[in-house]
Symmetry: D2
Subunit: 343 residues, 4 copies
């Protein structure tokens, strides 16, 4: 069985593991106050071309989302999100557990628009009994989204503008950021993201690390006492240097982007094979996730050798599945799959 | 200016106030442990024909909703509600502030169906990563709904059945219950509601009391330690007897139902006048709220003498407004309004 | 049985009730946005000699404490309080239920000192792993305290100074403020309290109202969006004018202070009788609560006709009880009690 | 500089790291549903001699504490803990952030007694206004405690008994459990702990793992939906097998106990050296932490080559420090330190 069901089936890229082994018996300060975290912080600032950024390393995505959002909001404030947003559907109400409503906006491709944000903000402000409603204060987007789509520079600029105009924070969940930034359709870079967002993170868990998300905060209001929040939410790793070491290994020589590109290219090949075979897609997207609609008969056949992530029934004879490549996917596995798709 | 904008513009029915005055200087135990609350509890049990019910008196609706819901749910559980439900839109995220997600279901008339509940429950149970999603555990309905519609006995039975089958609590917000139970289309009574729901409340604030909601709990699991929850959520009134005295005055001789019927009848007259004048309705409903669509010109004219609650723009020349009658509305005011609608 | 067990056994002062009756059938705006609340706000500003104060009316003390504290703090921040503080022992963890730790300081008479606050703040700041501890951000005091003691002007000034030096908010719970301000030992007034505290409240529930606490906010940071917080915490009374009307009745002609003084004077007479009878006190204090230590035999005898609040066992033959007078206590009842104490 | 300041300065034991490397590129299910976690679960059940135990792996101690406690309690319930308990002082209010009060009990050596628990429970039950107070529902202990002391079998039995009598859950924080179980004074084993506690955890972070705590739940009431809680609190590691693999490596051949014993023995040698040198101890204890009182002059001298954890000033010329050994401490370092203590 070859697993294409998600992008976190394996451990870490060998270079990450090597680095962890090499530094294993060193004695360092705990809680992310060691030199490796320090170096990784500086490196991320350099990549974002902004020395004033605060960088904090967390273990996972739900933890990062919940910590950032609860650190930013006052109790009566909520966060706008696509209805398909990870915080809205797949975090067991982590955001609500910290007291905040996720204000969901309809979305077909996982993205939300500046206009949707403006309208949601307006409808709150203009409501007569506005104090009886949750106050929108943050916008959560993921890039790539849960449906593998990405924001263009123009779209992100528009979102950023409407947020700043209305005093909303813009937060980008970058759990798969590597796959987004190396997509052939991408026109964004870390520098722009750091400028346009108030806070975002560079995902490691799905891109070559054992675990880890590097939270990057540009808005000074969000930096204040952020480390207290990490500790309170259970996210302060005792041996914090494990996170610093991993991000150093990933980012120092561009490994993060190299392995992301690898996954995207393999995904593109699978996508092309699907197109050639005449299959349609639940959503068209240019990153490492492929949302293809397969005849049930075909799916049953492929299911003998491959694991996909079932999405939804499309009609009586067709289902949509998610096929994921990752930094760890081998060309060999992909060629085998393509042959079987074609066959 | 005559106010038809809501059903809580005045104080209390004179008989309620008289009773408060008469008992004013008596010394009683605090926190709802006095004799008046005791008598009111017994009376409500008698009206519901079930001596085992727990009855607790709270001050307001948001407080009642938040206290009941947070008392019932474990942290990872959520409450299903119509998207128009009061807890979903007009309580500043009170439910979320206690850590729970409101799982909203689409609704056009303020009601939700047994099928919607079943489907929502199924889609959770059948999801592969169900532990990554909020677990539905309670169903919140309001009767009458925020749009003035009411549940039939058959509908409530169906909801109750699907809840019991799936281990969900059924909670009815009865902020306007009097107006519902005395509607000409109603076929429910307190006994049935107490049987079919796990918890509900009899609203006083909008039906003749200065304030107060009588929460009635039939499910033993929800009774346990409920008074701790009232205290913690700030809802335990020091001079609790004020609530007991008011509900006694309202319920002892059927005053509650008499004044509710009064409001419904006046609403019906206004509704008829609107129909005769050719106006359409945002929603058709049989209680004290009328959601009529008026030409903007007519609205401007009426607006000189009457206050309504603006709902939404319908088209370039029409708006929907809510016109409310209540226990306190005089026939004189209504006749004047009808004349002006006709005129 | 005459009840001296607490100061909220009766309803409201007759003038309060009259005013409620007189305005009962008026139609006003809801949620405290009516004219009566407006007038009461202005009156309180005038009494505090500061037109920039925000005044909001809440129903009860636990609600006021929880709303003020959760509105002021970020998630990692806590509130310093005497270990005997109401929020620390008698609110079923309401403050914790909003996510915040009560950082308790030892106290023998219900009061805390500027030095205790300074030391607590220092010990946090100087701790190596300060981010692993709750950050003190607010100081909660009650005046009079739960033990009936009061803060002198010098003490409050010292507390205010240490708070401002260290960026802490000073919050005074004034549930019994009337009894404090009219104590023969008091040297504080509303103007000074408004200046020295960031937020405080004038308690109505225990001083002549049916219910109600007037929260007065001087610090601009605490005013922002405060009404959202009231709504979210279930404290926004639909018929908010009930609160405005009551505070107008209490404060317009000095009734609040007059009836408070009355209670203090009667308490003083009981206190003197106890002293003459040779009884000791759990704590010496100058307001409406008397914490006297009685022989169990005597207590049993008095218990036939009077209800006190049992405090604690002092030794094998003695118990401490709380005897409360209030605005509603009659001279007749007190004279009877004194005779029985002497007898 | 040699670090004796804590027991998590290094990475993982080499055998742990080897195992992670060996399994690195395998494809497994996520979220702890892989085979390694399955095997580790079975192994722990075997060690505890109870196949019905639920075992869940979490990343860190604060996360484990917060998840277990918030999963177990209803909103009005609190957890009893020594005032020195980790949850009470060093977790930035994580427990309170989930809505629950930590009810602290005085302790001089980090331990609490069955009598203290019984008294606390009694005082709640017997309080007249018990519903106005937080209801004690869980007892949190750590073994070893934050002061390195351990519970005897008799003490744990007494605690367990009083908890079961009163319906309280007993929860043991075992962040340093290995050091406790291999202490020369210990008379407890995993089987007894699993029987006497409702839930406890076997700490990996401080005993040879990169990170990880194995939560073991025996009480069925606490098992229900526990994995939802892990996800909601941000503790569900995507590559969950990392935890299973590590615990397998640690527990399969007794490595966990072997390396714990090693640390205890080295600690004993340091302790003896301190005694011989005439130094007193802040607390006497038999595990890997030594709380010794040193002359400031001596401390300054040692501080040139060794890092300790400063505890507190004892008098004008003396300070207490914590010296920690761990699984990673070398005999060489300890011998050097002993020489310098003696010298």
């Amino acid at each position: 069985m070859i697993y294409f069901n998600c992008d976190y089936n394996e451990g870490a890229h060998e270079k990450v593991l090597e680095r962890l082994s090499k530094t294993n018996m060193e004695q360092t300060a705990g809680y992310g106050e060691d030199e490796y975290c320090g170096q990784a912080r500086k490196l991320i600032c350099r990549l974002c071309k902004d020395d004033s950024l605060m960088v904090q390393f967390l273990v996972g995505g739900t933890q990062a989302n919940m910590t950032v959002i609860s650190a930013a909001l006052r109790p009566h404030q909520g966060v706008l999100s696509a209805d398909t947003g990870h915080i809205n559907v797949h975090e067991t109400g982590a955001v609500e557990s910290t007291g905040h409503k996720v204000l969901s906006l309809p979305s077909v491709d996982g993205k939300i628009t500046a206009k949707q944000v403006e309208d949601a903000y307006r409808s709150h402000v203009e409501e007569d009994s506005f104090e009886h409603m949750v106050q929108p204060k943050m916008v959560y987007i993921s890039n790539p989204t849960e449906l593998g789509t990405i924001y263009s520079k123009a779209e992100l600029e528009a979102l950023s503008q409407v947020c700043r105009k209305n005093g909303l924070y813009l937060f980008m969940d970058g759990a798969r950021l590597g796959y987004g930034l190396t997509s052939k359709e991408n026109d964004l870079d870390l520098e722009q993201i750091a400028k346009l967002c108030d806070v975002f993170y560079i995902g490691g868990t799905k891109v070559g690390a054992l675990f880890g998300e590097a939270v990057v905060i540009s808005n000074p209001a969000l930096k204040e006492d952020f480390r207290y929040m990490i500790k309170q939410k259970g996210g302060m790793l005792a041996k914090g240097r494990l996170l610093g070491v991993q991000f150093l290994a990933l980012l120092e020589d561009g490994l993060y982007f190299e392995i992301s590109r690898h996954a995207n290219e393999l995904a593109e090949e699978i996508r092309d094979a699907c197109k050639k075979a005449g299959y349609l897609f639940l959503v068209e997207n240019p990153t490492n996730q492929i949302f293809v609609i397969l005849p049930d008969v075909k799916l049953a056949e492929l299911g003998k050798n491959y694991s996909f992530c079932y999405q939804e029934r499309v009609d009586e004879a067709h289902s949509a599945v998610r096929i994921c490549t990752s930094w760890a996917t081998s060309r060999e596995s992909v060629e085998k799959l393509i042959k079987d798709i074609e066959g």
